[in-house]
């Protein structure tokens, strides 16, 4: 359960942060809905990168 929660929290964190950035971007620059679309997808990619890194499949940025 610990491992499952760890990996899922990584993915959710990436998507959540991407969505929040996109929403704020739209709010500030009134580009709705394109900022949300772009940053949501980027956040999804970042979440997957986080999961792959913390699962130890891909080498970490620090090469560990």
């Amino acid at each position: 359960m610990a491992r499952g929660l760890r990996l899922s929290s990584e993915l959710i964190a990436g998507v959540l942060v991407g969505a929040v950035i996109g929403w704020g971007f739209d709010r500030l620059l009134s580009t709705s809905p394109f900022g949300l679309i772009v940053f949501f997808l980027l956040g999804f990619v970042a979440g997957v990168v986080n999961v792959v890194r913390s699962a130890g499949v891909a080498p970490d940025r620090t090469g560990r």
Partner: protein
């Protein structure tokens, strides 16, 4: 049915003062935090009071916890990371001791509230950010630019790396909080099965053996999770501090 969420309620013990219209209260959560710090202080001060060459029980516990965190920092950050030893040690001991206190029935687990874990994760995040810029200046941005990436896809990779960096405090705090919350709710639900089956009389008491055995097993598992999550939180703190000291490896 026993309410499995009831164990997480915050109760006001007394009011300290007001900021605007917001009441600042001393709650059961604060009381447990003070209790945890008092217990750690007792352990560490009691551990170094004797200073014997052959350590006694308390002294060897204090020495073991010191060595454990010191080795964690040395292997993850290196020798220059030892200036962050007090920081990492405080976080690790606070979480480990408070999680272990939370296993005792009728107690309160301070890490089961996301505001507590989020404050700790943000503390780590801001420490990394401020110290990273203080130590490396603008070279800290090399953290977001992996080497050997073609210039065409570089902006995309940098954007992903930035979001990945910003998502750290979120996953850092949610992981600890979710583990403690889920574990304690599971324990409570299975424990309530025992009393619910007991209401059916003799047959029910025989049936209740199964959830009782499960509760005992889950308590052992929770003991492991309590320590493991404090360890994971501390080791991730070390990894993030390593990024602040050596960006762009």
């Amino acid at each position: 049915m026993i309410d499995p969420i009831e164990q997480f309620t915050i109760q006001k013990i007394f009011t300290i003062g007001h900021i605007g219209n917001q009441e600042i209260a001393f709650t059961n959560s604060s009381a447990y935090m003070f209790g945890t710090v008092a217990l750690i202080s007792l352990l560490m001060i009691g551990g170094v009071a004797g200073k014997q060459l052959v350590p006694g029980r308390i002294q060897s516990m204090a020495e073991l916890s010191y060595e454990f965190v010191a080795n964690m920092i040395r292997s993850n950050v290196g020798r220059e990371g030892m200036k962050f030893f007090p920081f990492v040690f405080s976080i690790f001991m606070l979480l480990a001791v408070s999680n272990l206190i939370g296993i005792i029935p009728y107690t309160f687990t301070i890490a089961s509230h996301i505001i507590v874990t989020a404050a700790l994760a943000l503390l780590v995040f801001l420490t990394v950010l401020i110290y990273g810029f203080y130590k490396n200046g603008l070279k800290f941005f090399k953290l977001f630019v992996p080497s050997g990436i073609p210039i065409v896809i570089l902006p995309l990779v940098v954007a992903i790396e930035v979001i990945s960096f910003l998502s750290r405090p979120v996953s850092h705090s949610v992981r600890l909080f979710a583990n403690m919350l889920a574990g304690h709710i599971t324990l409570k639900v299975f424990a309530s099965f025992v009393t619910m089956l007991g209401a059916f009389g003799l047959v029910g008491w025989f049936g209740a053996i199964l959830p009782l055995a499960l509760v005992i097993a889950l308590t052992a598992l929770e003991l492991l999770v309590a320590f493991l999550q404090a360890y994971v939180f501390a080791i991730l703190t070390c990894i993030y501090i390593n990024d602040a000291i050596h960006p762009g490896h």
